[in-house]
Symmetry: C2
Subunit: 213 residues, 2 copies
């Protein structure tokens, strides 16, 4: 997979350019999404483009998550206190990592968006709430670009569709990453939809990290 489009608010740019660990967090996300290949024995990500909405999106996300969790020590399902404790409503942030340097905590929240466009708006608002409440210091959203999304599950949103709203997060450290297939071809199999054929694995949940400490 390759990164095709990136938008950083000025505040995000400052963090990534001036702080080694925030830069590292961005690079880990980029490396993880770029590590996705298809077919599984390929060296690159080649998508079958013979049928609109012909490919599933879950395995793409899953491969990225495996690398984030296993190689880079990110955690899944990090609840925000403002939602879980205070408002008692709303789900956790998708993926999360804490870095510590000189006793200073640096917290990054990531949503890998594979729902429809309104779901992408919710992800954006959840991360924004986390930033406003100072529960995270940097927010990222990962989405396919339009060119790829039209060959993925119907109604999966894309980078371009959310793009008009990026400016709503100006003033906050927010990064939007649009990824694309390396190649489009009629000679590879379709990516299965849902989690068909994927082996079960135990995900690295934030809850377990907290409880085991």
């Amino acid at each position: 997979m390759k990164i095709e489009k990136v938008y950083m608010t000025r505040e995000a740019e400052e963090l990534v350019n001036n702080d080694r660990l925030f830069k590292q967090s961005y690079e880990e996300v980029v490396a993880s999404i770029c590590s996705s290949v298809w077919p599984m024995d390929s060296e690159t990500f080649i998508i079958n483009n013979t049928e609109k909405n012909g490919n599933g999106v879950v395995p793409v996300k899953e491969l990225c998550y495996v690398m984030l969790e296993d190689t880079y020590n990110w955690f899944r399902e990090k609840p925000l206190d403002v939602l879980k404790v205070e408002k008692k409503k709303g789900g956790p942030i998708d993926v999360y990592k804490e870095f510590v340097e000189n006793n200073e905590l640096k917290r990054v929240g990531l949503e890998f968006e594979t729902g429809n466009i309104s779901s992408a708006h919710r992800s954006m608002n959840k991360l924004l709430l986390g930033l406003n409440r100072k529960e995270i210091d940097l927010a990222m959203i990962l989405m396919p670009v339009f060119e790829l999304s039209r060959f993925l599950t119907d109604r999966v949103s894309n980078y371009e569709e959310l793009e008009p709203y990026f400016e709503n997060t100006e003033g906050k450290p927010f990064i939007y990453i649009g990824f694309n297939a390396d190649e489009f071809s009629s000679s590879v199999p379709f990516i299965p939809k849902g989690s068909d054929g994927m082996s079960k694995r135990s995900i690295k949940k934030w809850k377990d990290k907290i409880e085991n400490n």
Copy 2:
């Protein structure tokens, strides 16, 4: 129907308390939603609460719109320039009214939210974009409160569900209005789902106003 919960950001409160026309716009929206009755020959809004998700929501919205359009001269489907002209993406604002006083234009955008919670996030972000781009001066969202929404179409979002995110719009003039039935009863008919049985009417579109000028 009655108003049960209202949240105004400080900026919205200032507009409504200090400006006659912004106050009027708020009062028109409140009067329009409160004018909804059920059954149609009732003096109040009584909802059949014998079955979860038993009632439709479209007729409720429709009655409110009729009053906004016909009595108060609001317009439907107002496109934002930032979306329609600049980004060439995204739909219009649901309902819109312009007031003029001393050559000063005062523009109010309203979304009557009857979709799921992620759709409510999109409505919020669209209005916020309109405020940021100074295409509207005051934003309002109308939603049922939880107590009512559970007897409406499945997955219709509610005031309480979006409430944790209201603070994301602090600093901007934003009003959230939660309405509720006047009475819950087993002796009234269910509200039909979809637009079944509703007479067709021509809505008052912003486009037509512009084209006829």
